[in-house]
Amino acid sequence: MIEIKHLKKVYAGQTVVNIPQLEIKKGESIGLVGNNGAGKTTLFRMILDLIRPESGEVLSNGHNVAGAEEWKNYTASYLDEGFLIDYLTPEEYFYFIGGLHQKNKAQVDEYLLTLTDFFNGEILKKGKYIRDLSKGNQCKVGVGSCLLQKPDLLMLDEPFANIDPSTQFRLKNILKTENKNNGVTTIVSSHDLNHVTDVCDRILLMEKGQIIKDISTNSSTLNELEEYFGVGQIVAPEITIDKEENH
């Protein structure tokens, strides 16, 4: 699906992304983790041809994404609010996006019905422009518009960050069904290790622009990640309860 070769991005003399080789196969679900500044968003942007890499290339279905239009037909993404047209109402935005994919209003409405749970009654028919929604609800609009496009490749940057626990739970289920039942390749970044290890079959750990670990998820993955991110931290001593005093 996605193949990255010698991809490098430098900002002000600092290498922020440096990936010599990475292949993402069709139908994989990828979790991208790493501390702030590890280069996750920059990598996303380069895959989406939003910033120009210093060197290297990103191939999507075998074609270089740079300057091409073909990949846009099967790629849906939501990185931040900058992807939403904020002076439209959510309905208008969905119809617009649907229209780009040759869906008429009735078809869009029909699809949105399946997202009723996910939207939790906070998106549609609320009489608000997208800019007046909270960040979490904006995220719902973004994710909803991605799903509406019926993509082969779905890319979300920290989708769990602003949404409430119920929505996090629903989003995880949506991601799993899209991946398992519809064969959608998903790339999701997150700071929440529980979510990522739950949703994704393969975890990429980034540090200073490089992918330092490439793990296929199993029962010990979460521990492995927690160990990495907990480096240098003082572990609180276990609380011992004196049996004598605690009658």
Partner: protein, 491 residues
């Protein structure tokens, strides 16, 4: 504490994106402010001349005393329209251990730093020094000056108070406007009373009894105090911010555009962008004002036909110029979304052409009443309309590919320098010069009509070859899109 606030304020001014990084913008900004200021200074210094020319029969001091209150009435109207509330900047301090009185005091004090408070002082001080001081002595002059300052402080805080109240309830603004209109009409239309004689009765008395200066000072202080109290009681974000209480926003469709397919959808979006955001909306409204341009120029015989080219171009194409000069910046906040979506860039450009054509066509029809000044005027308008939708749209879009500045749509347009850069300056040259490059040679040879024909032909040729220009612009865009997108991401 307040000095720290001022320090931050200065930093925010010099470091803000509006102030502009490019020297060109700073220079132009400086020149404009200087020109404006010199007009005001000029007006102030020669106020005695002007008054004696306007009212030759009356005593100079009497006229002067009469106009002061009238000035402040107009001043209040202008402030209510243009003066911005110094508000949301306090947000980062509200949750810190800073005393509320300092925050409120700072908010109330910064409101004084407005050009509007400078004007009355510049306008009236020279007259006071030239006429009042020699005639009535130093104490009266000081009393006059203090009254003027106190009244402008009063106006300043009254306007702020009305605007703050209006933020919570839009009707208040209308009511205040209606009251001001009634006051104005009561004097100038219905002649119930005369603000002039009221003004004179106070300022005339001030000449003899300088202690009366206490009245305006008390008024100003009371208004300041009212603001202070109000702010202190309402130091909540929703009440401070200039966001109006939101009503139900409904989804709308523009059915006619549906037949243009994707391009029509894009135009519909852009029309919504214009109508639903403050800054583009004010650009549009300014365009409507420009439709009156003809009344200024056509009523005076001294302006020849070459001026009409300019006027015609502005009236039918002001939208292309005022909105188009910031092109793509308007969509800066969701430009990433546009780039990754399935929007074909040539469709994107076609939508711009369509939008410009629609608005220019509407503007052309709105200018047809100028037929009153002869059919030739309408002919010139039509020629310039063709020129606008042919040549100017292409020029504007060519420069749009070179514009990398983000614009915040929610700010007003007046005195807003955000998004202004060298592009806009460069853009104005071809817009202003090109039509004359074609017209004047013919005019010199005594063939003005052929000159107009040439303009029309060039316009039509450009319209006919649009698809070619779209291809060129698209290719050009692909070389610059990373730079554009990156610039737009910079808040």
């Amino acid at each position: 504490m307040i000095s720290t606030f001022f320090n931050h304020e200065l930093k925010s001014f010099w470091r803000s994106k509006n102030t502009g990084k490019s020297i060109a913008v700073k220079v132009i900004m400086g020149i404009l402010i200087l020109i404006l200021l010199s007009y005001v200074v000029f007006f102030g210094v020669f106020l005695d001349f002007i008054l004696s020319k306007m009212f030759p029969k009356d005593n100079l001091t009497v006229t002067f005393c009469g106009i002061i209150l009238i000035y402040f009435l107009g001043d209040l109207l202008m402030r209510m329209q243009l003066q911005e509330l110094p508000t949301l900047k306090v947000q980062p301090y509200l949750h810190l251990p800073v005393r509320r009185n300092s925050v409120v005091g700072y908010l109330a004090l910064t409101a004084l730093f407005s050009f509007f408070n400078l004007w009355p002082i510049i306008i009236f001080t020279p007259f006071i020094l030239k006429v009042i001081l020699p005639a009535s002595g130093g104490i009266a002059a000081v009393a006059f000056l203090l009254s003027v300052i106190a009244l402008s402080v009063f106006n300043n805080y009254l306007a702020m108070y009305i605007k703050r109240k209006a933020n919570l309830n839009g009707w208040i603004f209308l009511m205040a406007g209606a009251v001001l209109t009634l006051i104005t009409c009561g004097d100038f239309l219905w002649h119930f009373y005369s603000i002039r004689s009221l003004s004179y009765s106070f300022f005339g008395a001030l000449l003899l009894k300088p202690y009366l200066v206490l009245i305006p000072i008390l008024l100003g202080a009371a208004m300041f105090y009212l603001n202070f109290i109000y702010l202190k009681g309402n130091l909540y974000l929703e009440e401070l911010s200039s966001k109006k209480a939101s009503e139900y926003k409904s989804s709308t469709e523009i059915p006619l555009l549906g037949r243009f397919g994707h391009v029509g959808d894009l135009v519909a979006n852009e029309i919504k962008l214009i109508l639903r955001n403050k800054r583009p909306r004010s650009a549009l409204i300014m365009g409507l004002f420009f439709l009156c341009y003809g009344l200024i120029f056509y009523t005076q015989a001294i302006y020849g036909e070459s001026v009409k080219i300019f006027v015609g171009m502005f009236m039918t194409g002001i939208f292309i110029i005022s909105y188009g000069q910031f092109m793509f910046s308007w969509q800066a906040s969701h430009f990433d979304g546009i780039l990754v979506s399935r929007i074909n860039f040539s469709d994107f450009l076609k939508a711009k052409y369509l939008l410009f054509t629609i608005v220019s066509t509407v503007a052309f029809f709105l200018t047809t009443p100028y037929v009153y000044f002869g059919w030739r005027v309408v002919m010139i308008h039509f020629v310039m309309y063709l020129w606008n939708i042919g040549v100017n749209t292409t020029i504007v879009l060519f420069f749009a590919n070179r514009n990398y500045k983000r614009i915040d749509l929610s700010k007003g347009a007046s005195f807003n320098w955000e998004g202004v850069g060298a592009t806009q300056l460069l853009l104005s040259f071809p817009l202003l010069i090109l039509p004359y490059v074609i017209y004047w040679p013919f005019k010199m040879l005594g063939m003005a009509n052929t000159g107009f024909a040439a303009l029309a032909i060039v316009g039509v040729v450009f319209i006919a070859t649009r698809s070619f220009w779209i291809k060129q612009l698209e290719a050009d865009f692909y070389t610059k899109r990373f730079k554009i997108a990156e610039g737009f991401r910079n808040k």
